[in-house]
Subunit: 234 residues, 2 copies
């Protein structure tokens, strides 16, 4: 894998960086490649590096003391993750675990290095803040959904969110997603059983086609309707 500095401009935080900045970052970065199911870092590790996913796909998840876990977000190519350490000055630890969903590689950059760069480059701070406000808003919305909306709709929302982030159209122009029922459950705050039952129901209605680690939205509009329609029962 050979990276060119300007590739890094695809990272939203670096969209306004100069070519020199990008070279600096690339030189300081270490490329780490890991296999499906392995981890970039664990919740609780010291947050010494931030990462930029170069290839593959990963997920960020948080687990409770009892071991149950939720999916905070999925990470696609050219997305930055684990960047909290660059902001918090004190010794900090990652608040979540990053696991590869398929063979992946990521550029690891020392948190303190980005921290130093931001001191003299306001646009970097702004672009990072931009990213952070996005996360805040997303988490707030998901929190509200989880608190007030019922499962079926939350699953629909998860599928739509995934579609927006990484939906790939197949030959028939249908949107195809590659996730296990368990993943979907962790994204929607429910159990794999309920996800399975819901997808089966939707398949019966002709909204989706399902398979092992696969969901095809054959009628995206129908899913949108489930996600959006006013719930007159409340």
């Amino acid at each position: 894998m050979n990276l060119h500095p300007t590739d890094l401009r695809r990272v939203s935080v670096f969209q306004n960086a100069t070519d020199d900045d990008l070279s600096l970052l690339l030189n300081r970065g270490i490329l780490r490649s890991i296999e499906e199911g392995e981890f970039f870092f664990f919740q609780g590790d010291p947050a010494k590096y931030l990462y930029i996913l170069v290839s593959g796909r990963a997920k960020l998840m948080q687990s409770s003391a009892a071991g149950q876990q939720v999916n905070l977000r999925t990470i696609n190519e050219w997305q930055m993750f684990g960047a909290l350490g660059a902001v918090r000055e004190k010794e900090v630890t990652y608040p979540a675990t990053a696991q590869a969903l398929e063979s992946s590689s990521a550029l690891a950059i020392e948190s303190v290095f980005l921290h130093e760069m931001m001191q003299t480059r306001p646009y970097l701070s702004f672009d990072l803040m931009q990213l952070m406000t996005g996360y805040i808003q997303e988490m707030q919305s998901r929190y509200r959904e989880l608190a007030t909306e019922k499962v079926e709709r939350r699953i629909a929302r998860s599928l739509l969110r995934l579609t927006a982030q990484m939906g790939v159209k197949n030959a028939q122009g249908h949107i195809e997603l590659a996730f296990t029922r368990q993943d979907l459950a962790e994204m929607s705050g429910t159990t794999l059983y309920t996800v399975s039952r819901t997808l089966s129901e939707w398949e019966r209605l002709g909204l989706v086609q399902t398979g092992r680690e696969r969901v095809v939205l054959s009628n995206p509009h129908g899913i949108v309707q489930i996600a959006e329609e006013l719930d007159e029962s409340r």
Copy 2:
């Protein structure tokens, strides 16, 4: 109400600001006072101002299309709220509603003004990012709790969070909180009925004393235990 520039240093985002900066901010600010139950801004309004609560208490909440709402956080004196507009350059709207829990006043500062100041003052950006990472982490934790933990524990957590933020010790050294059951429910992602039943149960056990818009933690340790103990049933 007469404000002195250095009062603003109590705001975490301004802790490292110069006296000149603080004066600038104060001069550009407008003091808005509102009554209990009234609103600083509504979800969906253009985010033209950011606020600093000078006196009183407020809550930030988000509501769904169907009108159900959740409590995102409570705002105490010298906390900043509604600051997203200072980061996002495009026309943005508040993602939440800010309502006064008691008569309150807040300093309103134009978002663009803080935005400009940050261009040349890296420490401002850092302190704002610091705040934002805190929110991200808190929302992530609360999201996980809501998804994986049962109601009783979530209510316990809410009480402890409130205690940390604004607990006032009364004459007996007990921690006293002033919230309606409805508020507590919106913070914990449940209903006022369940909160009421849970508090009654705790009162029977001698963990708390309750009253109208009042919860006294007479045995905080017991509440901590409920919030923390491993749930062997899972």
